[in-house]
Structures are given as C-alpha cells and as structure tokens.
C-alpha cells in the first residue's frame, strides 16, 4: 500500500507538471531540428491536445476563468472519539489534550470563474500543513492507580492535498463595481500525504481522506486581490474506529497569476 501510494503521488505530480509544461507556449525562433520535428507525429503532445480539447468541451459552461495563487493561515482543532479502540494502551490525558486552535498554513492555486455566465464559483487545489489542537471526548481511569488517560494518540501535525469547489454569492454591499463581497459555500476534500504514525493505525483508526463542508466570506478589491475567511468542518471520509471532527478557520489572500508573472 505504501509503495502504491508513493507511485500514485509521483504519477499525480508528473501529470500535473506535464499539464503545466504542456500549456506553456513560447514564441521563439525554431532551429532546423525543431522545424523538422514539427512535421513528425508526437503522440504525447497529441494526447495533451486531446485532453485540453476534451476539458474545454466538458467545461464549456465555465467561463471568465482567472488563475490565482493563494496563501493562508489555518487555525485547527480536532475532536477525537476513541471509543472504538480496544488495544490496552494508555496515554496520559493531561499531556495530550490541549483543546485549543493551533496555527498551520496553506498554499496553492485557485481558479475563479462564472458558471453559465451568472453563477460565480472558485476551484482551488493546494497543500495544507495542518497543526491541530486535540480535544479528546473520552477520559478513562484504571482505579486505584491510573487516572485520566485516553486509548488513542492522534497525529497533531500532518500535510494534506486539498481540492475545493466553492459557490460564491455576490452580496449587495458597498459599490459593487469596485469592491465585491461574497458569501461562499461548498465542499472540499483533503487527502493526507504525510505518513500516519503506527499509534494511529491501531484498530483500523487510520484514515487518510477528510471530507469538509465550507462556508465563509470573501472580499475582492477591484480584481487586484481577494481576501478570504473560511470555516471548514471536516469528518473522516470512511468509517473509522476513531471518528474525528476537524474544525478549521482559514484566513488568506489570493492574487491573480497574470499580475504576478
């Protein structure tokens, strides 16, 4: 499984790089060799062209797309219910439970556009470094000796790949031609790419996929940049012996790539 995951990530990275490299168009003078090559068949390029054509066809209703780079600060806390753990292991509650929001960060790409020319949306793809505070729901004791322990030690630092789709509703606030305020709502999906500790795998507790429900607000300053604040409520995508609720606040900014490069 570990090897399969590694291959999957590498495959994904290579695919993403291929798409980006393939989309670059350089205006330059062709050498003799390149001129000769232009007449030959290139199966790789042909495939990329077909994918682009197919994407354009599939997403014909998604218009006015602007690509942006974003960065954000995340404040995260997780609620942990370890009732499904049967392994005879104890962790001192006082040393694990801090019940606070801890700061992490995110970065990635974001595509803002319009669906059927009237519904604004945003898609984003990014990487999160999540540092999370823990709130353990269950406290155990083993009288007369061991007080206040849990059966599970949740990972509190991990990295995820994130895909988000948000519907944006323009709010009638201020001069809407200059400053735009949006309310946003939508799902997002996180996949842990950092390794899971062995403590987190006991009794099938380990879970790599998190599905989130997001809502928040965004402020678009004349198209120069977007400030956003989102709340994300996440749960394990698959059933687990240790259900975890991940609460996150995300505050950040996105800037259009054409303004940056």
């Amino acid at each position: 499984m570990g090897l399969a995951n590694t291959i999957l990530y590498r495959g994904l990275c290579i695919s993403i790089l291929t798409i980006f490299v393939g989309s670059e168009v350089h205006a330059q003078t062709l050498t003799k060799k390149q001129q000769d090559s232009a007449f030959l068949l290139h199966p790789g390029q042909e495939r990329i062209r077909k994918i682009k054509k197919s994407l354009a066809k599939a997403f014909v209703n998604f218009t006015n797309n602007d690509l942006s780079l974003y960065g954000s600060l995340n404040l995260s806390k997780q609620k942990i219910n370890d009732k499904g753990i049967t392994a005879p292991i104890n962790y001192l509650y006082s040393s694990l439970n801090n019940n606070s929001y801890e700061a992490g960060f995110s970065g990635g790409f974001r595509m803002d556009g319009m669906y059927k020319e009237k519904h604004p949306y945003s898609f984003s793809f990014g990487i999160n470094r999540i540092i999370v505070g823990n709130n353990y729901q269950n406290i155990y004791s083993l009288a007369p000796f061991i007080d206040d322990f849990t059966h599970f030690k949740a990972d509190n630092v991990f990295t995820t790949l994130n895909i988000t789709a948000h519907y944006k509703k323009l709010l009638p606030v201020n001069d809407m031609n200059k400053y735009k305020f949006y309310a946003v709502v939508g799902p997002s999906f996180d996949y842990k790419i950092s390794s899971i500790s062995e403590e987190n795998l006991i009794n099938s507790a380990g879970n790599k996929a998190i599905i989130n429900g997001d809502f928040g607000a965004e402020f678009d300053n004349k198209g120069y940049y977007v400030l956003f604040a989102h709340y994300k409520y996440g749960v394990n995508m698959k059933s687990s012996s240790v259900p975890i609720q991940l609460n996150r606040f995300e505050i950040g900014m996105s800037i259009k790539t054409k303004d940056l490069f």
């Binding site: 292991i89 322990f149 380990g206 996929a209």
Partner: protein, 142 residues
C-alpha cells in the same frame, strides 16, 4: 463526458487509497515501543479474592519499591532480583500478552505469562496468568 468519468475514477482511486494500513504487527510494535528500555518499578500488586465474600487482598510494596524490571529492545529482560531471560509481546485471540522465558540465579528455567491490562509511556498494569486468583501488578517508570 469522458473526462468526467476520468475524474470520477481518479476520485475513487483516492478513496481506495484512503483505507487504513494496519498490519498484524502494528499493535505489538506500539506496545513494544512503550515497554522497552525503561525501568518499570512495581508500586502495587493486587490479588483478587478467591470468593466474593473474601476481601480483596492489597499487597503494598512500601519498603520494597526498589523492585523493578527492564525489557530491553533486543528481547532480553532482567529484574532487580537478578532474574534474567527473554521476552516477547504477543497478541493471542485479541489478548495482549508478555511471554517471558526466565532463569533463576541458580540457572533453573521457568516461564511466566502476563496479560497486558494497560501499557503507556509511564504506567503499566499486568495480570499474571495463573490457575489461582489473578494478581494485578501496577508499575510506573517513576
């Protein structure tokens, strides 16, 4: 439409790979990591009653708190009484156990099996597997 199917397959693959990766040795590995390379000091032992009318016997180790046992990473064990041997942590029918092959200071071999009631960074409770009333042993790392 084809591209949407491709995206669906990609998402299904992600979901498939999101399954946990627990193996048969995961729990044993974690318990071993908590157990090894520490001196476990015996604080209390409690022997359960033979019958419900007989009171529970509390045997305090006040005055004998120097008794300790160490489980080394290489599978050896030794205690403060000079008894040495080897040990393995095993998971048998859902029961976590420590199997110890020991030798007295005279060289006589004997086997002791403990059920692990709970093991942590600094606390451990074991139950000696015997035919008579069970004895629970409470250890700390001090």
């Amino acid at each position: 439409m084809k591209i949407l199917y491709t995206l669906l397959i990609a998402l299904s693959s992600f979901t498939f790979f999101s399954c946990s990766k627990e193996t048969s040795t995961t729990q044993v590995n974690v318990m071993n990591s908590l157990l090894t390379n520490k001196n476990w000091y015996l604080d209390y032992s409690i022997t359960e009653a033979m019958t419900s009318t007989t009171p529970v016997v509390f045997k305090s180790y006040v005055g004998q708190s120097t008794y300790f046992i160490t489980y080394l990473k290489n599978g050896d064990t030794k205690d403060s009484d000079g008894i040495t041997g080897t040990y393995t942590v095993e998971l048998i029918n859902g029961e976590s156990q420590i199997h110890m092959q020991l030798k007295t200071s005279n060289g006589n071999p004997f086997e002791v099996i403990y059920n692990i009631i709970s093991v942590g960074e600094s606390n451990m409770v074991l139950s000696k597997v015997t035919t008579g009333p069970a004895t629970k042993l409470y250890f700390t790392t001090k």
